[in-house]
Structure formats: C-alpha cells, structure tokens
Symmetry: C2
Subunit: 584 residues, 2 copies
Amino acid sequence: MYRTHNNGQLRAADINKEVTLSGWVQKTRDKGFMMWVDLRDRYGITQLIFDEERSSKELMEKASQLGREFVIKVKGTVIERQSKNPNMPTGDVEILVSELTILNESKTPPFTIEDETDGGEDLRMKYRYLDIRRNPVRENLIFRHKVAIAVRNYLSEKGFVEVETPYLIKSTPEGARDFVVPSRMNEGQFYALPQSPQTFKQLLMVGGMDKYFQIVKCFRDEDLRADRQPEFTQIDCEMAFVDQEEILNAFEGLTRHLLKEINGVEVSDFPRMTYDEAMAKYGNDKPDIRFGMEFGELNEVAQHKDFGVFNQAELVVGIAVPGGNGFTRKEIDKIIDWVKRPQVGALGMVYSRCNDDGTYKSSVDKFFDQDDLAKWAEATGAKPGDLVCVLSGDKNKVRTQLSALRMHLAEELNLRDPKVFAPLWVIDFPLLEWDEETERYYAMHHPFTAPKPGQLELLATNPGDVKANAYDLVLNGNEIGGGSIRIHDRETQAKMFDYLGFTPEEAKEQFGFLMDAFQYGAPPHGGLAFGLDRLVAILGGQETIRDFIAFPKNNSGRDVMIDAPAPIDAKQLEELHLNVVTKS
Amino acid sequence: MYRTHNNGQLRAADINKEVTLSGWVQKTRDKGFMMWVDLRDRYGITQLIFDEERSSKELMEKASQLGREFVIKVKGTVIERQSKNPNMPTGDVEILVSELTILNESKTPPFTIEDETDGGEDLRMKYRYLDIRRNPVRENLIFRHKVAIAVRNYLSEKGFVEVETPYLIKSTPEGARDFVVPSRMNEGQFYALPQSPQTFKQLLMVGGMDKYFQIVKCFRDEDLRADRQPEFTQIDCEMAFVDQEEILNAFEGLTRHLLKEINGVEVSDFPRMTYDEAMAKYGNDKPDIRFGMEFGELNEVAQHKDFGVFNQAELVVGIAVPGGNGFTRKEIDKIIDWVKRPQVGALGMVYSRCNDDGTYKSSVDKFFDQDDLAKWAEATGAKPGDLVCVLSGDKNKVRTQLSALRMHLAEELNLRDPKVFAPLWVIDFPLLEWDEETERYYAMHHPFTAPKPGQLELLATNPGDVKANAYDLVLNGNEIGGGSIRIHDRETQAKMFDYLGFTPEEAKEQFGFLMDAFQYGAPPHGGLAFGLDRLVAILGGQETIRDFIAFPKNNSGRDVMIDAPAPIDAKQLEELHLNVVTKS
C-alpha cells in the first residue's frame, strides 16, 4: 500500500491520524536540525517535517539525501503546522515522518518542475513526461478530458450515438494529402489514414443511424503551419432528416452547454452572419466579434477627389480604432510599418485623427477636407478620440490586410479578453473557392456539400456565385467547427464530381461506394465537425493547441521525445514490397 | 422540417394530432382501394394508411409507386387503428396521410432489411450501410456506444483522466508486426501505428498523471485469424502508486459496474486463480467457469497397471461429463473422432461410464478394475450417470486437448449460458513464454512487465519459472482484459531487454526515451487493457466481435465496401520516396 491519502487531501480535521503518502520531492529545506520536504502529486502538495528531536538519526540522514523529483513513500502523523500557509489547501497541517522509503531516485531534471519553468519549448518537448508534471500542462490535459466527457454526455443524452469508424481506409486525391499505410498482404496497395470520417458518417446516415457523433483522430500530411498538427482530434457529427436550422440549433445547444458547464458562462446571443457580410464587415470569415472596429467602406466618400491611390482602388475601406487619436506620430508610423510588412502586404495606410473638438486631422489633408473626413468617421463609426485607419486596393487583398490590422490592434489594445466568449455562426458559404495557383475552382468545404436549392444550375455560368448551406461556428475569432448540408442523391453528386474535374471512372473508383449508397434510399442529411484541440484551447482561454495535446509533434512533424519517424528494418520494407528511393 | 415525431413515438394519446414523419418504406400492402405502408427509422415503425374514400386520387397513385427502402416524408393525422398490434409500441395508431413527398428513391436492396435477412456475410459487408439498417446490427452499435459511455463515466468519476496518445509513433520489432506510415518530410523514415499506447501510458505515469485511461484504436499487422481485426479498440488504463491488489479491485469495480448497468446482473463472486492452477484445472489460461468438468489428474491411479499408453504419458487427466453415461456408443465414438481431428490432435480417448448402480464400465476394462475406475471417478468428481473422459500424453499438449474437449462438450450440452456471467482473475502469469519455432523465450505480456519481487535472479537459471504480477480478466471463457505491474527502474528494464536479446544499442534506439524517463523519478505503476470489441460482444451475449464493429474488415484485412487497400498515385509514391517492388 503506497498511500492512504493523496497529497492534496489532508486538512486540520485529520490531525493525529497516521497516514501513508507517496509522491515526488518538490523541494527540500534543510536547516540541519530540522528539515521540510514538499511532497507533490497530481492532487497537490503536502509538507513533511523531520526534526532532530522527534526523528531518528538514520531517518534524518536518509531525508538529507533526498533530491528534487525523488519518488518517496512516507509514513507519519498529521500534525498542526506552526506557520500555516493559507494559500495551500493542505496548509494547516504537516506530516511528522516516522518512516521514509525512497521508491526511485531522480537525476536533476533538465528544467525546473514549476508553473513557470526555465525550460525552452524544445527541451520541454524532448522531456514531455517531465513537462506534464508541471501544473499548467497537467491541468490543461485534465481540462481537455473534462470537455470531451461533457461533449460525449451531452450528445449522448440528445440521442447521438458514438460510432467508431475505421482508421485504415482508402486514399483519395481530393483535398489535403493523405498519410498512407502500405499493405503487406496486398502487394502494391495502401490504406490511407482518414482526413475525417466524412464518407463513413454519411454512410451511417444512409444506414439509418439518424444521429451520429465521434471524437476521433484525423490525419493530414500537410506542410505544417505554426500550431498545426499532422494528427488532430475532431468532434465529428451528422444528423439525418434535418435542415440547416436544426443543425445550427443542435450545436448551438452543445456550445452553450460547454460554455456553461466548463466555463460557467451563459451566452445570451448566438448571432448569425452570412459569409458575404462577414467578409464585408470584418474582411474575414471567422471574425472576432468581442470588439467593434467594423469595416466602413469608403469608396463613395473617398473616390471623388484627386487622390489617385484611392481612385484606382477596387475598394477603399477603413476602421475606427477606439481611443486611437491618443497614438503618437511614432506609434502611428509603427502601425504603418506593420501593415507594410510582407506578411500583411499593404502598400501604405491613410489615417485620420478624430479630435475631441470634432475636427479631423488626416495624412491626406491635401486631398480631403473636413466634410470628407466627417463622412469617413461616420462610415467607420468613429467617435471623437478615435483614429480612422484606411487601406485601399484589390478588394479581397485589402480586406485581408485590414482584417489583420484589426486583429493586431485588438491585441495591442487588449480587446481580446479570454474570459469573454462571443460565438458566431457564419452561414451561406460559397460552394467553391478559386485557387490562383492551379487556376480552377475547388470545393470550399468538400465535394459532398450540397449547393443551395436551385443553385446547381449556376455552376455552368457563375460557379463563384453558387452558395451552399454550409456554415462555420466561430468563437472569439477562431473557427471551432464547420459543416454543411450534404448531397444525398447520386445525380447531384455525379454532377459535382464532374464539375470538380473527376472523370466518371475516377469518381466511381474513389467514391463508387458512396454513389452506390445514394441509390438505396439515402435520407437528407447534414452535419458538422468541431476541432477539439482548438475548442479546448479557446475554452481554456488560450490559443496554442499544442499546450492541450499530451504528446504533440513539432513543426517538422517529428515527435522529438520518441524520435519518430525513424528508419525501419530492411526486412520490414521487404515484407511491404517497398524500396526507399534515395535522392541522387 | 422533415418530422415532428420519429417512427417509434406515437401512441393512442396522440390521436387526432397533425404530424409529419420521415423514414424508409419497410413494406407496403396495396389492396387497390386501400393501402398501408410501414414507415421505419432508427426508433421504430409507424403504419401509414391511404384509402380511396379519404385520400385523393393523386395521392393514392403516388403511394402505389412506393417501393422498399424509398425515403419519404408524410403529413397526416394520427388515427386509431382498426386492428391494433400489441407487439408494436406504435401499434394502437396509424397515420391517415394527407401529403406524401418522395425524398429519395431506392433500387431493390440486394438483401432484405429484416432481422433475419437472406443476405450472406459477404454481401452484407459490401453493402454494410444497408446491413446497418437492420435492427440487430444497429442495436449492437448502439449497445457498444452505451458500454463505452458507461466505461468513460465510471472511470472518470473514479479520478481517471482520458488522455489521447499519438497514433503516429515509432516502429519496434518486439511483439506483433507494426503497420507503418511513410514520412514524406523525412526521406526513408516511417511512423508506426501503435499496437497499444503502452509506453505512452507509462510515460504519463512518470509524468504524474496518476490515473489514466483511454478508449483507443490499436493496430496489428498480423495474418488474421478468424474474428481478429487489423484495427481494434482497447480500454487502456494505468495507475501509479498501486500494487496488484489495488488494480484488480479497481477493474473488478468497473466490470461489476458494467454488468449491473448494462446487463442488470449483480455478480456475487469474482474469484482469483493462479495461472498454474488454471492450467492444471482447466488446461487453459482463460477458463470458462460457468460450468464444472474440472480436470482430475489421474497419474497416481492410472499408471500402476499394464496399460502402456498411460504409463508412457507425462500426464493422464480426465473430466467427468455430467449425464454423459446417457451417451450411446455411437455418440461416444463421435466424441473420440472429435478429439482425434488434427485441430485437436489427441491420439485417442479412454472413457469410463459411471452407471447409476455405482458400477463402472470402461473402454479399458482389460487393464483397470472397478476399484481403479472408482478412483478415477473420485479424482474427476464423477457421479453416477456421468461419463469420465480421459486423455494422456505430453502435459502441455494433453491439457490443451482436454480443454478443447471440455469446451466442445459444454457447447453440446448447452452449459455456456450467455445470460450467466462468470468473471475470473487469472493471476501470477509466467514472465516469459517459450517459443518452439525460434527456440527462445519471449515476454508473455510485453517487455515492460515486472518479474515478481526477488525473482529477477531466476532469469539466469530457470527463466520459465519466473512469475510476474501479471493478470488477465476472464469472462465466460474469453480474455477480456490483461495487464501487469510494470518495471519502473532503469536497471531492471535494461536487464529485461538484455535477456530478451536486445543489444544495449538496440534497447537505446527503440526505448531510450523510456529508459531515460525511468531516471527522472518514475513512480511504481501498473495497469491493464480491456479489448472493447470482445467485451462488448460478450456483454451482448454474443461472441463474434465483427457484429459489434460498424465497418469491419474481412479475414484478408480488406474493407470490401470501400475496396481498401488500393493502389495509390505514382505521384504520391514519389513524394514518399518509395518504389513498389513487384515480385518477379
């Protein structure tokens, strides 16, 4: 028996009890005649005491050998602490140790096991098992567990059934790159790891499962951007015999439940906004609506003068920075430099100070008078004391730039309060998305998304205008989920594949099973998937998903702790009928 | 809005309500002037009625076009049914349809969507989405969900934290064959899919997580035996600062909870038996103890006469078949033929009939007298009316043969009642297992299992005698879980690897991260993993795990529905730095 209590458990009421505790040595304080040890486990810290008068010489000596992170077991008596520590749940008591067993020694850890550690990211990842001993990391993982179990119980109570779909499936070239798994028993053939259980959940709807969910790992072999993982977790959901409204309500319910259960927050409003509106108002399909600075389009009030930059622009658009008139010239120059960085890519920025007396002072006073600037203020909602920042150029680009600036300024001005939760449905997404590089349209969500009723015909003439019953759930400027109403008849699906450049043979080879299934009474259906990693991070008031993953991979897709990937045996390769081709 | 109610919901109390229902046409009965349709969904069946007098001509005509598995939506009024059906929850009512929409048509399905179908296994797997529409299959999947959520909530309430461990890890040659995943970004390197999260859960214990669980997919690239799947699901658990007793109690608690919550069964007894005892009494490390027929060893009472077969045997062992004296000579010959089949491999069988009058009649009366046979009866616990069956030969082989016979007879005599649950802990497993083929010892559980205290030294001299704190949980003759106390110090782990034939370099390359972790204060720990697929099947009173998996693979590891594995693009192979080697 290693323990009668854990290290977060003992209170004044336990005084005089004989107890056994086990855990890690957090720190020791050795005064020679007296010695204290902080004993730590997942549940807390309990102070142990050894002293010359009451402890044997052998015990004192053994105790003096203890180092940081040693694993020990002690027996002793709970006694009242002389100087109580009100900041610790166990701060009223300490253990007068009568017996000490060293269960395992420890080398000095490569970084301190404290809330604030001296270890850098790389070191902490290599020794992730030590990093997990730190309170913030461990608490994040426990938090993740709580969110997952709350999701499961909520959906289960609402009649959703968690069904495990297979991990060894078939590779399909549409979308991101698959990870593949060579088959030993089928020479030259491969399984693929799922990018999502999309087709399987649709087949479950065809199979009459009615309401499905699954918390499931998904895989994408992409060149990793910051804070992306090759394996990630989704809350994957699908419902049959529903329209978009019912899906939105179902998952609005889940989100409300989580915010209440996990964060103790009641969200009053769950607004909806079309994709077009989000792009026009925020330049972004996942706007953070915790703060204002909505876009004001200025074409009408800024293209009538002799200012060529504006006159040649497709779009002139501004935001009002609250209190921004307080910025010094230097600070404004810094903002201008910021938008001109290659990552943002603006060519410059025009601004107009809104003085407290109602007058304006702009960087383009040569061209625009007080009346013009008053109209800019009106269009952007600027009040005296604000600063209007204006960008211009190609519509799509300038929106993206101004969106970046808006988010940047919100960070600077501390407008992104992690304790405030502002969810938002962005709806009516376009069905297709133009890709500059390959000069063709791709499915914006995936090729199974249904166009809005009656819009299928537009594909031939105005493909970019076709809208879908596709929606994203946005929380505090992050997309936490997305989904759509799916195609459920074979003919429409065939048309979609055709439009996306699949030959009928390719469509059949890759998705024949789904097209077949649609012939046997497929019900109308739709669904959505949440990104659990991000959802958990945001509910936890943070934005780095890596902090909520037990054993994350680095930006090169490596697990630096176990050192994977790694070469495999020649025999293994041979069994898989494979040769590695070395670059010459 | 596709429905106001589902098809299992309406009752007499709903009569006169206007409702909208959607679902599949289960069957139609068309009398020309009147027509009934059984409308089905996950929740049940509701009868629709159309009749000449109350329905329009167009509606009648549309209804007459309906075929099996069409997906329809109807509006109508709930009315009282003329001939009520007490076997259906909705049997008191029917819907007088006023509006019918065909949402999707259906080709005639390749097999009937009924509890008992005319579709063979292969056909049902190819059209699994139709198979899932059948009640028994769908109910199995819902049952699985219920078990999984009960497991999660129980463990969570007991302080276990579900932590997701990675799927893209490193290949290790020890144990079964890994599935591997080529890395595009690291030429010539591979990830492996986990056979279990074993090392990660141990690292979580080193990391102070204290109590961990995870319901997780695992992967083994084995030549598939019947009812094995290349991907399968485990309930994986680990605890720190525990001895074997506490682990057994914890998971006895979980099992009791499941039996009560899921099956409504209170299990009074949870016996324990050593591995040696199980082998001696049942010839099997996962005995079904729902019935008797325990082994009686007969060496002392059968090797004193002139019967060479017994005298040369390492072990003579028998079982008493209850009521077996009732077997005809022909029936007994059939049993003898059965044990002589190559799959069992006995050379013959001796038997002794226990007559009701207390006399015996054996197949070896030439050699053994009534006193001898009375001792056989005593040793096997045979009563008048029973039949003693005796096998002899090499100890291990004969035990396996007699165990097979015992199970065979139990099936024949209907002693394996699926409604009775008899759990059993088999403990004190050997640490190592001899492999005839490679003529060496392998770790019986895995190389992380700790030998019993003080037995490590035996490795050098009597490796086969070393016992481990390793245990299996057996339910009705199936191993549903297994685990052990783990090694937690570097030195012992190094010795184990050395003993198992790893060079220090190999041990470091493959498990260096674990050996390192053991140097930084690893706590004592142990755990266990349940096979969820099998557990669910047994709780469901069945033994075929495939029936509880939504999309299982066949015995060649193929998904015949999606037709995976499959060849991949040349471009994909090139990106992965791979060539397929075709057999010449």
